[in-house]
């Protein structure tokens, strides 16, 4: 049927060729290809940082009382006797098959631990970013409607505060207010969604708020500034006003639509620090995610575990940035409808 349809429109070029040549497909393809070297570089940097730092790792692990034999045995176990390049290659090929090594502390498979904990961190990241972006759009738009007005001043102050408050401080203050003082929400602990959706929601509210408030503040300030800047300097805004469009229509239909691209770029830039913050938030709220696992591993100098988790975090960052890039390509008509075709 599909072929019959194609035959009736004979002059059309091969569907496959048309698909491959479509600007969006091309951009997606290029970005995917670019992600491969970036992932390689990223894992390499991570591995190098963890492996080339000064000091004998084995002796640091075993403490001062360790005998030479003990140190030697551990070095062999960690392949520390091999040259760095070989170690990286061994690690990389193993990692490629999904084997990130095993924990020094309890001999668990790093891959298994990461897979077990990943969904907690991912849902934390996803919910936080969604809340921050949607919150920023609403607040910034309301602010930009009347710059310098009372609402704008209040929002600007809140977002200045948000930008200046470290995640761990905000988390602790949230715990102090909502758990200790008001006893509304649990301070610590995690309830899986499958056990109790309500319990899960209760355990996630404070962590998500803590993660999203600082980045919400950054998004909000940047978006507000961009909206106001466009409103005063862009000619298409004048065109829209000259049509007789009302203030909200100009702001939402025209300006916001163009500011979204700046916001998307910013989301990409903040991805790294957001993912880094999972370590802090998960350990404060006792969520069993990879962030908390990372802190534990660092505490116990569990090298394979640290390396595995960091690499997974880096991969998440790269993939999140890829998603952001793709979203940009899909939303921006200047990429979507390339005039050169």
């Amino acid at each position: 049927m599909a072929t019959a349809y194609l035959n009736t429109t004979a002059p059309r070029p091969n569907v496959f060729v048309a698909f491959v040549r479509h600007p969006v497909v091309r951009v997606i393809g290029i970005r995917l290809l670019q992600a491969i070297p970036i992932l390689l570089i990223a894992t390499f940097i991570t591995f190098a940082l963890l492996n080339l730092l000064p000091g004998s790792t084995a002796s640091a692990l075993l403490g001062d009382g360790a005998s030479a034999e003990q140190i030697k045995a551990l070095e062999i176990k960690l392949h520390l006797d091999q040259p760095f390049w070989e170690r990286y290659w061994t690690w990389l090929t193993a990692a490629f098959t999904g084997n990130l090594g095993e924990s020094l502390v309890n001999q668990q498979s790093v891959t298994a631990v990461v897979l077990d904990r990943l969904h907690v961190s991912l849902s934390l990241i996803f919910l936080s970013i969604t809340l921050a972006v949607s919150g920023a759009i609403v607040f910034a738009t309301v602010s930009a409607k009347k710059p310098g007005g009372v609402i704008d001043r209040i929002f600007t102050f809140i977002s200045s505060l948000g930008q200046s408050i470290p995640t761990f401080v905000f988390s602790l203050v949230m715990v102090l207010v909502f758990s200790v003082t008001l006893s509304l929400l649990p301070a610590i602990g995690y309830v899986p969604f499958s056990d109790s959706p309500i319990g899960w929601a209760q355990s996630m509210i404070l962590p998500v708020l803590s993660m999203s408030f600082p980045i919400w503040a950054i998004f909000c300030r940047m978006l507000r500034a961009d909206l106001i800047d466009q409103a005063s300097s862009e000619d298409y805004v004048q065109t829209a006003r000259a049509k007789g469009a009302g203030g909200w229509a100009v702001l939402i239909r025209h300006i916001l639509r163009n500011s979204i691209f700046g916001l998307i770029t910013l989301v990409g830039l903040q991805m790294g620090s957001l993912i880094g913050n999972t370590a802090i938030v998960e350990s404060i709220f006792g969520l069993p995610g990879i962030g908390r696992e990372l802190l534990n591993a660092i505490h116990f100098k569990d090298i394979p575990m640290v390396c595995g988790i960091v690499v997974v975090m880096v991969i998440i960052t790269v993939l999140a940035n890829l998603a952001v890039d793709l979203l940009y390509a899909v939303l921006d008509p200047r990429i979507r409808h390339d005039s050169r075709s």
Partner: protein
């Protein structure tokens, strides 16, 4: 304003529409910007009128206040601007109208085209949607589909090839000339009575400029609009306008029908401007008679002639009193105590 009369056609076939009430009447329009400690007198006491179906060119250098004036007419100035005077559109005062009421008139009774067609269209919105938006703002009962259909029609009117395909495209897919045609289509969407073209062809190449200007003039006749051409180009005024007003430092300094103005320049500033324009009919390597430029100080209200410092005909009284714009001859007004005598200006 008893001295001012409506400018009527002075040549060719008498225009029957010109005798009706003017589409736009501007009286004593002033625009003052106050920002922090800074005051700028951008437009001082401008009075103009545009009869139905005629084209007024407002000519001036950058900083002469012509763009500020046009935006004041549309109500598009920022809140730092204080606007006083009177602007009557189709007999109704629009200055001081609440923003919501003024909004109803913008895009419907009066429309505007801007200088840079690359920047004045929304890059993320389809062309059809941008035209349809103007229709749907003012005609609430029109469906989206109908509005798009009308957008196709409008694109055909402004001679954009393949209009039914173009409505689905985005501004970056069009050339500069085509974008400006789309801007004109947006402006014409509700058949306004007044169209203000603010340097609408300045960013275009000369052949594209001629195409767009010809189109504008055709459409003006077809739709029976009045037009204000804001430009720095004397050639545009001479070739396309019926009446010309020359602005300098926020004042209209000379105003007349086009043949009268170019035939008998009376204001020394206009003369200098006209002489400075490069033209084909001047020998190569000729020097241009201009005096040293000194931008006028717009931070104070005028107490003397603002052109006095550069004027070859300056006398003592020019430095003491601000010469008002007066209609010294039939339909020809100038703001000068010592105008160029007639015999010397006729070519």
């Amino acid at each position: 304003m008893t001295t001012r009369t409506t400018v009527v056609a002075s040549e060719g076939a008498p225009d029957p529409m010109a005798t009706t009430a003017p589409v736009l009447e501007v009286e004593h329009l002033r625009v003052v910007f106050r920002q922090g400690e800074k005051t700028t007198y951008a437009v001082n006491d401008v009075s103009l009128s545009v009869p139905l179906g005629r084209t007024l060119a407002v000519i001036g250098e950058s900083g002469s206040g012509k763009s500020v004036m046009s935006r004041a007419l549309m109500g598009l100035l920022p809140t730092t601007a204080t606007i006083t005077g009177s602007v009557r559109l189709l007999g109704q005062e629009i200055l001081g109208l609440p923003e919501n009421d003024l909004r109803q008139r913008r895009g419907k009774d009066m429309a505007m085209i801007f200088q840079d067609p690359t920047r004045s269209l929304n890059p993320t919105m389809k062309i059809g949607t941008q035209i349809a938006e103007n229709i749907r703002i003012h005609e609430k009962d029109v469906s989206r589909k109908e509005a798009i259909a009308r957008a196709v029609e409008l694109l055909r009117v402004v001679r954009v090839p393949a209009p039914d395909r173009r409505v689905e495209e985005y501004p970056h897919q069009l050339s500069g000339g085509m974008r400006q045609r789309v801007m004109i289509a947006i402006a014409l969407a509700c058949q306004p009575k007044l169209l203000i073209a603010d340097e609408a062809t300045t960013a275009l190449d000369v052949t594209t400029q001629a195409q767009v200007m010809d189109l504008l003039l055709d459409l003006q006749q077809q739709f029976g609009m009045s037009m204000i051409l804001i430009s720095h180009d004397m050639g545009i005024a001479a070739t396309y306008a019926d009446d010309v007003a020359v602005m300098y430092a926020g004042d209209v300094v000379e105003r007349a029908p086009v043949t009268e103005l170019f035939g008998h320049v009376r204001m020394p500033y206009t003369r200098m401007l006209l002489d400075a324009v490069p033209r084909l009919d001047r020998p190569a390597h000729a020097l241009i008679p201009v005096t040293a430029a000194r931008p006028p100080d717009l931070s104070k209200a005028a107490t003397s002639c603002r052109f006095a410092a550069r004027c070859p005909r300056v006398q003592d009284d020019c430095l003491q009193t601000h010469p008002p714009l007066e209609e010294h001859e039939d339909k020809h007004a100038w703001a000068c105590f010592h105008p160029i005598p007639l015999e010397r200006t006729s070519a």
